[in-house]
């Protein structure tokens, strides 16, 4: 079997096998899930670096061909491997999380594997209709995963399905528009992506702009950018943290950003105006969502808003249309999946033992959840872009992209958004892990299950590693996305020198881009050096500190002005951290409206839909004679139309 088929077929077969396991042998579902994920991961990484193609003639859907045409390139190759790795980590975590609780509900592992297969289809497809099919499969699996989890998940599942379904429809319409314009132009193999890349479509004519915008809305609905993000926070309320980490946290980001990068770099010659649209949506998303995150009281919902906000950086980076900005945007997608999965899984570990995700009811867990605390601490600093962690490395590239694109206001917004993210995570760390411990938490302590702790630790370690040594990933994986050849580059960040003049706009001739390859990334920053310096100074300071009086620190009661500390009453819970911000004159009405769903296209359209539904309801009187009258009237209209229509 062709190597390109394996990342699609192996998880699919394992998923179907898991579906066939009868409920009595539930434990086998987890085994199949884990083994399928391991196998999927192995076959996915085996195609990295491959430039192979594969084609089997399929059948025609009306005038459009649906062939199985696959191709790996410098982007899809590693994206498949990355998606499969996230699936593996989430599968392992699921086993640990559901241990001692009767195993995962329903066909959890099966849908995860099939979603992973769908994601591989999207990433490897060399044919637009095939891509649409994979895209659909992932949406469907998301719905099934959420609906199979908790009873309270159904509202979020329905909303996610409706919004993502509309996104999928937009994708399909965009593809059909592309096909029509290609047929007019007499293109030989319409809808084949390789052909599309060889001769990108212009964005000057009306239909093609509409097609671009349709594909763009599909991408941002999947990735979760404003205004099509609202399914993520709603879904977060009722679904399992591992599902959040797996789909909206990582796979959906990979797919959405993959599509966005493809349409704005490869398939279309994106105009400056459309790039401005991407950047503006990005900035609105990053600021709007992070403000909403700051005022949340539920840990899962708060993380969901951050999963939206971070998409803004990816859009901003890709929208700048400069080599360094696009690299930053794509690298940020990778980093985001890592730290956000770590945060969701960490939140899951806390929720598993305490039974709540309400920030006001948590607190003081730092001592009994040491591993979770350490991992979430690292991931929280990474998402806030604190050097030398991975979030900083990719944000730094996005900032440089803003400078290269001459967009000072967007740059300020991006840095400010990062400060707001930090503020929001200070609140999380404080409310969950610090402060006096609430009595109702009892002696809740971290599970010792490696299934839970191992994925957490792996992800946190990746946050540090990618932050300190981003050079290898940038040269090998992210560089090829914009056509930088890894062999042309001196590997590693240390050798990269550069000046802003070489941060070319995307679309520069290949030989010019290749000449700039050794210079592109991390030129004037040297993250490993900054990390080393930080560590060095801290060690020296620790040494200096230990010169004085030695011995273990003495433990004394908390001092609150000489009063006795009442752990229930004298708490300053994190949910009160930003009340001042909430009450600011301009922001207050916006927050109120946002919390009521006033900016949610789903809720707003429901509001508009209500009169229509009321009218239909009135027509549905249930009286037979009324229905007969309607039928008669309809027949009469048809009759008249047929009689005089021609």
């Amino acid at each position: 079997m062709n190597a390109l088929l394996l990342p699609i077929v192996v998880p699919l077969l394992a998923g179907v096998l898991a579906l066939l396991v009868p409920p009595a042998w539930r434990a086998w579902r987890a085994v199949i899930g884990a083994l399928g994920a391991v196998a999927g991961c192995a076959v996915s990484w085996s195609i990295v670096g491959s430039r192979a193609g594969f084609a089997v003639a399929g059948f025609a859907v009306g005038p459009l061909p649906l062939d199985v045409v696959l191709r790996a390139d410098g982007f899809s190759g590693w994206a498949v491997g990355f998606a499969a790795t996230m699936a593996l980590l989430c599968a392992v975590y699921s086993i640990g999380w559901y241990r001692e609780r009767g195993g995962a509900p329903g066909h959890h592992y099966a849908w995860m594997l099939i979603a992973s297969s769908g994601a591989a289809t999207v990433l490897l497809a060399d044919q637009l209709l095939l891509l649409v099919v994979g895209w659909e499969v992932v949406t469907l699996c998301l719905f099934l995963l959420v609906i199979g989890g908790r009873a309270e998940g159904s509202e979020g599942a329905a909303k996610a399905f409706v919004m993502l379904g509309l996104g999928d429809l937009a994708l399909l319409c965009g593809v059909v528009l592309i096909a029509l314009s290609q047929q007019q132009a007499g293109v030989e193999r319409p809808l084949e992506i390789s052909a599309l890349r060889a001769a990108p479509l212009g964005t000057s004519s009306g239909p093609l702009i509409v097609a671009w915008l349709l594909l763009f809305s599909a991408a941002i609905a999947k990735a979760g950018a404003m205004p099509l993000h609202t399914w993520i926070p709603t879904m977060a309320k009722g679904s399992n943290p591992v599902v959040m980490a797996f789909l909206p946290g990582s796979i959906d980001k990979v797919l959405g950003i993959y599509l966005l990068a493809r349409i704005s770099l490869d398939w279309f010659e994106t105009s400056a105006a459309l790039r401005m649209v991407v950047m503006s949506v990005g900035v609105v998303t990053m600021l709007g969502a992070v403000f909403m995150a700051m005022i949340q009281h539920d840990l899962r919902r708060l993380l969901a808003y951050h999963a939206v906000s971070q998409v803004g950086y990816m859009l901003l980076g890709i929208g700048t249309g400069t080599v360094i900005g696009v690299i930053g945007g794509v690298f940020h997608m990778l980093n985001h999946a890592i730290y956000k999965a770590c945060l969701f899984l960490g939140a899951g570990s806390v929720e598993r033992e305490t039974g709540t995700a309400d920030l006001a009811r948590l607190g003081g867990l730092g001592r009994t959840f040491p591993v979770t605390f350490a991992c979430m601490f690292v991931a929280a600093l990474a998402i806030s872009g604190i050097p030398p962690l991975n979030g900083f490395a990719s944000k730094w590239l996005v900032y440089q992209g803003c400078v290269a694109a001459d967009q000072p206001l967007f740059l300020v917004a991006a840095v400010f958004g990062s400060a707001l993210t930090l503020a929001s995570f200070v609140k999380v760390l404080h409310s969950v892990f610090c402060g006096p411990r609430a009595a109702h938490l009892g002696d809740a302590r971290e599970t010792s299950s490696p299934g839970v702790l191992l994925p957490l630790g792996t992800l946190a370690a990746a946050c540090v590693l990618l932050g300190v040594l981003p050079g290898a990933v940038l040269d090998g994986f992210v560089g090829p996305v914009v056509g930088l050849a890894p062999d042309g580059a001196v590997s590693g960040a240390s050798a990269l020198q550069g000046d802003p003049a070489t941060w070319l706009p995307v679309g520069a001739p290949p030989e010019v881009i290749a000449a700039a390859a050794p210079r592109f990334a991390m030129s004037s920053f040297a993250p490993w050096l900054v990390a080393g310096l930080l560590l060095g100074v801290a060690v020296v300071a620790a040494f200096a500190g230990s010169l004085g009086r030695s011995g273990a620190p003495r433990v004394r009661p908390t001092f609150i002005g000489g009063e006795a500390l009442d752990r229930e009453r004298h708490r300053f819970v994190g949910t009160g951290f930003y009340r001042t911000v909430e009450e600011l004159p301009v922001l207050r009405p916006v927050f109120r409206r946002g919390e009521r769903g006033g900016f949610d296209p789903y809720e707003v359209s429901i509001g508009f839909g209500r009169p229509v539904v009321a009218l239909l309801r009135r027509l549905h009187s249930g009286v037979l004679t009324d229905y007969c009258a309607w039928c008669f009237a309809g027949t009469a209209v048809l009759f008249v139309a047929l009689l005089f229509g021609r």
Partner: protein, 321 residues
């Protein structure tokens, strides 16, 4: 090997930690002396801030009962490391000592925020409710000043264009680039956008240093040193040192970014010292003549007029003014 030894020297001795700490403690003395003069007192001797730190380092470490010990003990180190590396990264380009650039404006901005962040997280990890109030105020203050501060510093980055008549780039975030530009074309401060940005940045530095009127996070009379409440001994000493490092770094950064940097002549060095002292004295005088504001007032002030001025300056810089 030689390169590494050189780096260690630059980082730990000159112009990094040791030099900056010494300079910072001298500036702390200057601050206390000027304050004393304003209040018609004599003030401490020059060595006083040094002895204060030495004494703190000899005290035992006390752990509050409700704290998360590791985080509580590690945060002073993070604060000191962030401030120390930031100091080196600002001084190296100023003195022209680095062979290859390390860090740029963005890296320095983030490193300069690390002491505040470490203090916030350390206060939170102490488990003390009063410290938590201090931490909450400190985050909000950080949010407040960070917006205008970033916008103001970026004015310099976006003024850098049209060197020698040809558009080399759309601006640069490299500190070396900003310095070179000023040496060729004249200081950023000389243009209207630069002046506006400089004024906004000085106000932000006042808050970044946690000085009155923006000392809401410590507010001794309300919440008893707030965020620092549970720290003593080495931890407190390291926070004080990080603070001294910031006092040495921020004025130097302002001079680097807005006021022409440092030229290697006697007059150049004297002018540079004069500029740094002028900024510090302005900060101290404002500190001594103002009452403390509430946190909501501080937020409104920074997100309102100060941010407006900084953003207008940034737009003006983008348009070439």
């Amino acid at each position: 090997m030689g390169a590494i030894a050189e780096w260690v020297f630059h980082l730990l001795v000159f112009p990094g930690v040791l030099f900056s700490v010494t300079l910072g403690l001298v500036l702390v003395w200057l601050e206390r002396k000027v304050t004393a003069l304003v209040q018609w007192r004599k003030g401490p001797p020059l060595a006083q801030p040094f002895w204060d730190v030495v004494k703190l380092f000899g005290k035992e470490t006390i752990l509050p009962a409700d704290s998360v010990p590791r985080a509580f003990l590690a945060m002073p180190l993070v604060a000191f490391a962030g401030a120390g590396v930031a100091a080196s990264l600002v001084w190296l380009p100023l003195l022209g000592l680095a062979e290859r650039p390390v860090g740029d404006l963005i890296v320095v901005l983030y490193l300069l925020a690390m002491p505040s962040l470490a203090l916030i997280l350390g206060a939170s990890a102490s488990g003390n409710p009063l410290a938590a109030i201090g931490a909450s105020r400190d985050v909000k203050l950080l949010l407040g000043y960070e917006l205008p501060f970033v916008a103001a510093l970026l004015v310099a980055a976006f003024q850098v264009r049209d060197v020698d008549g040809a558009q080399v780039s759309a601006g640069t975030l490299s500190l070396e680039g900003i310095l070179a530009f000023q040496q060729q074309v004249g200081s950023v401060l000389a243009r209207p956008s630069g002046l506006l940005a400089f004024l906004a940045a000085i106000i932000c530095v006042q808050a970044k240093l946690g000085r009155v009127p923006f000392d809401v996070a410590e507010a001794e009379t309300e919440i008893g040193e707030g965020a620092l409440l549970e720290y003593g001994g080495v931890g407190l000493g390291l926070f004080k040192l990080a603070h001294a490092l910031q006092l040495a770094t921020l004025p130097a950064l302002l001079v680097l970014v807005f006021w022409g940097g440092l030229t290697a002549t006697v007059w150049g060095v004297l002018a540079f010292a004069g500029k740094v002292l002028a900024i510090v004295v302005v900060v101290v005088l404002v500190e001594n003549t103002n009452p403390r504001v509430r946190i909501d007032q501080a937020l409104r002030f920074f997100w309102g007029p100060v941010a407006l001025v900084a953003l207008v300056a940034l737009l003006a810089a983008r348009l070439g003014y």
